[in-house]
Symmetry: C2
Subunit: 299 residues, 2 copies
């Protein structure tokens, strides 16, 4: 990638209608458009799921942030609200093979204690450098990489190659936290500054390596034959996102009071522990491995 290639950037909020921080940031940027303007590119904002926001729900018919696979976008038989909305958004920002934006900043929040998480779709050097820069802005920033093949990815962020998800928590769905609001806003401005500096060929100071938490697999709650929950996150693991979980350590607690320990062979670092929206997806937490990754300078 050469300098001056970022021409349009999209800031997206409210992909999930009950994640209010993104929604109210988008509304704020609409009132203060100057604040997100940069000289070297155009910035647009998008409130992705206004109907779900109006209903104070994650989605109306189906999780919008799982509607962006190429196959689903091409399937006109998928015609519920979010499937139609995804096609409209892809028409505005995409298509994947030739997108109209060069970077997407997608704003999310979680009931898990994930602090300020930058989620990368892959470890492309450009995305890694952006994440490395953001770790210098706030010591709470963690970098999580959950890869899906881009062409098949069902996430909104897969519409273009560059950018990141900013995922902040813990925060209850349907609420705003002033602290997380301000921290997220700061990371957005830092991202825009970074892209602007990139376009100008300016080298911002970034660390030579960073810790990346690479997604391994998800763990579900134990369930009975009808799918009903039989256990909850163990008190010792609650709020312990990004902390080491060793084999034999408590992971879940049944409603009857029995501890279920982690039975893997090596230490993992769980994230999205007790995320409300993941109960229905069969996910109690996502396990990651922690790696130190060298940051390759702009070539």
């Amino acid at each position: 990638m050469n300098a001056n290639q970022i021409k349009r950037v999209a800031i997206v909020g409210g992909t999930h209608g009950n994640e209010f921080i993104g929604v109210y940031l988008i509304k704020k940027f609409a009132r203060f458009p100057n604040s997100i303007e940069r000289d070297t590119f155009e910035t647009m904002t998008l409130l992705a799921n206004p109907k779900a926001f109006a209903a104070r729900r994650r989605y109306i018919d189906r999780d919008l942030n799982r509607c962006f696979s190429r196959q689903d976008l091409a399937n006109l038989q998928l015609a519920n609200y979010e499937d139609i909305q995804a096609k409209a958004i892809a028409q505005l920002l995409g298509p994947k093979e030739n997108p109209q934006v060069d970077a997407i900043i997608d704003l999310h929040s979680t009931t898990a204690n994930m602090g300020l998480t930058v989620i990368l779709p892959d470890e492309h050097p450009f995305n890694l450098r952006l994440a490395a820069y953001l770790t210098t802005i706030d010591p709470l920033v963690k970098v999580y990489c959950w890869s899906q093949p881009r062409q098949d990815s069902s996430y909104l962020r897969s519409l273009c190659q560059f950018g990141c998800v900013i995922e902040v928590g813990p925060i209850a769905q349907g609420t705003v936290s002033a602290t997380l609001f301000q921290q997220t806003e700061r990371l957005i401005h830092a991202t825009l500054d970074y892209l602007d500096a990139f376009n100008r060929g300016q080298a911002l100071s970034i660390p030579s390596e960073i810790a990346i938490y690479r997604g391994l697999k998800t763990i579900d709650y134990p369930r009975d034959s009808s799918g009903e929950l039989q256990a909850m996150i163990h008190p010792q693991l609650q709020l312990k996102d990004y902390q080491p979980l060793n084999p034999g350590e408590p992971m879940l607690l049944t409603f009857d009071g029995e501890t279920i320990v982690y039975q893997g062979r090596s230490t993992v670092f769980p994230v999205f522990i007790n995320e409300a929206a993941y109960y229905e997806k069969g996910i109690a937490m996502c396990l990651t491995e922690k790696h130190q990754v060298k940051i390759i300078r702009n070539s």
Copy 2:
């Protein structure tokens, strides 16, 4: 009230479908009915809003816990799901003038940092003694009194005169916290033990006075002409339920970063700060006054 008058007790969970602690406690009690049996009365359990629980939402059409006024219960024109469900519950537990249960324990949870709150419908000596006993079970217990005239009250708990709401938090809607689950379970057992001791004429040890937080009024977020939020809870007030808020201290923060201070004349103690379900009700927090109340012994 004379001894041996508690004949039937109802434990109610899931009045709000996304408050999971009550739901999963009711499901546990269904599997272990012995645990909630006491010799001197009958205990029944009720999952109040199963359809909202299945949808992982507070309610389907209307907040069930606002459907129990005498007027609404008598109005057969009110025929949406929760209004019909309220009439069915009133038929099972009520009617208010001659209820089939003598005490109701209604289980709720909140996104506010209310710890273990016992909400009393009034300061009847019987209810006060119960609350005083519960403060001896767990030091986190706080006693909040939000009075509505019982005949006009729209809360489920108004179906009979005695009992309490157990309101625990902070917890995101649609999640379970193992710690709060176990603490709530302990308070339920203590309540049953207390009612059993009352029936037997046994005097349990209770303090001679307790602090009561009496509800004064509610405060809304500033809103624009279309009703849209203009501010959030100030970071200094977030999670500070039951702590003193003095005139001139920060209460809200606008999205533009301006602090709004509390403008009352005297110190108050806010509760339900940043409760997710109250955004749509126009409530950012409830202000209370703290009073020391003497506990009158059984006559």
